[in-house]
Subunit: 324 residues, 2 copies
């Protein structure tokens, strides 16, 4: 009788799993026309939303429902980290086929619940409907102390560019997942960064509190694509040093550089630091590597330097409108 | 070369149309990882989101892009009206085919822009991607003065039930649209309520300021379905008087009652008022009819009274999970 499960029952299932949270400023969450939330005085509200669509962002026969639940929230929260903010609550818009409202939905909600706990981001509400394919949209409401928010547009020529973690690993794991038959195992450590990305919330907050970055963003579509956006917002260019890139040691050396430059889904932070403050950036932040990969330039183009050769760096990251 | 239009160009088109608004508390809108917004002191933030999906909520060959743009925002704003709040800003998540990024997108943004102006709700940001079908999700951020918010759950037995406007018209217009060949004309006045619904913001605010309603919600899925939700939230039931229903005069008399009870998409307000305050509800509010249609009962069921006959009222409104 799965197909007879109606919208009220789907909503009830979500309510049972998440309860009616009154944390993080939430005054009223599920079960009404809208949620009510109290902003913190002296802070600014940070607003972001993200698609997570079957066939575009995940594959139903490859990605476990638990990982879908985790990742749809984690990637939206990553935008909050990129502003130096803290997540507070989220809205879940979920469309799914009737036959997935049983076990699949339970597992999806399980992963989402763990992400909600781990990231300190409470379920505030949402919208559900029926659809042939699983469609997800997540809106995250966060906060950042007034004046500490870090935009994309504050970079100046001469600023040094840093990234957190290693680059290209999530894309490498996706390739591996595509080669493997059947569903990925949620517990497969070799797929962890692709299935269960961790937004760099602590790092983002620390950078904001120290006022260390002139510009910051998260890497979701690949360094070459995202860097071009940061540069466009600042009206500047950048030069990247290929030999400095924190490539994945798991990749074949022939692939490693391309993966680091163009691979998507890393959710690492890219940030610019005034040259005089570069010494304040540690090599590691709570175990997470921080690497200087280049600098901001006055000339409005992206360049890639390898040894003493410099070539233009073209955006080769994820762009849905350029895919077939 | 439409298919070569990339994501940055789609975003640029949206930015050109909406500009970077700094009204309504917006500090930073498009072009960064997230938007920044300043809540008003002494007010609560109201959060809601709504799907608007091709094939489920609209038909690409029947609904003009301009109306799709208007309605996707208007219906989400209706949830703010239902809390007694005022809209401030919205996030647009838009997935669409490459071939619709030309004229279709222009017209869609045109309708959305007019709704944004008319409803006083500024574009704050969003997410775009490519997809075979048009998928829309809109998050609206509103505000309501602390203590004035109206929930679904405050009704008491004996409260009288009121609705605004007439019921069933939008569904009647949809039937008419389905019978007509080709695309609806945006200027067709006979389809206005279906194509260009007007959320009852002024009425909602007035009811909140007067503290007139014990419970309120907007009618999106049909009275019989939505009323059951209001009753469930309050732990009560209701009796509706069929002869009092403000039916559409355009409907055949044989259809009018069923349309008023079960027709969706009206975006009128349903509210409960303590019996002693019923005299404070005018027959018209700024030209908009207000009608007493029944009362809240202690018995947890929905009943429909016609003359001296009373029968159970079953929810027959819109439920996507019960459709084929």
């Amino acid at each position: 009788m799965k197909s007879k499960r109606n919208e009220n029952e789907v909503v009830a299932k979500i309510e049972r799993r998440f309860g009616l949270a009154k944390r993080n400023g939430l005054v009223l969450s599920l079960g009404d026309d809208a949620a009510l939330w109290k902003a913190t005085s002296g802070w600014r509200t940070v607003l972001t939303c993200d698609w997570f669509l079957e066939g575009t962002h995940f594959l139903r026969d490859k990605h476990p429902a638990d990982a879908v639940g985790w990742k749809c929230l984690a990637r939206a929260v990553s935008d909050i980290a990129a502003m130096g903010g803290e997540p507070r609550c989220f809205l879940l818009s979920l469309a799914l086929p009737g036959e997935l409202t049983g076990k699949w939905l339970d597992r999806f909600l399980g992963g989402l619940r763990r992400a909600s706990r781990a990231l300190g981001c409470e379920m505030a509400g949402g919208d559900t409907t029926k659809r042939d394919e699983v469609l997800i949209n997540v809106t995250v409401i966060g906060e950042v102390r007034r004046g500490l928010e870090i935009r994309r547009s504050g970079a100046r020529a001469g600023d040094l560019l840093f990234v957190s973690g290693t680059l290209g690993e999530a894309d490498l794991e996706l390739r591996q997942l595509r080669r493997t038959r059947g569903m990925a195992k949620p517990e497969n450590a070799a797929l962890r960064k692709h299935l269960y990305p961790r937004p760099r919330l602590e790092l983002g907050r620390w950078i904001a509190e120290k006022r260390l970055a002139s510009a910051m963003m998260d890497l979701s579509d690949g360094l070459s694509t995202d860097l071009s956006r940061l540069c466009a917002a600042s009206g500047l260019g950048a030069r990247i040093n290929a030999d400095s890139l924190p490539v994945s040691l798991l990749a074949k050396s022939s692939d490693a550089e391309a993966l680091a430059l163009h691979g998507g889904d890393d959710y690492e932070l890219l940030f610019a630091v005034r040259r005089k403050n570069a010494g304040l950036v540690p090599r590691r932040f709570r175990g997470l590597r921080l690497t200087q990969i280049g600098e901001i330039t006055k000339a409005r183009k992206l360049l890639l330097t390898t040894g003493d050769k410099t070539i233009p760096l073209t955006s080769g990251g994820w762009d849905p409108f350029l895919r077939n």
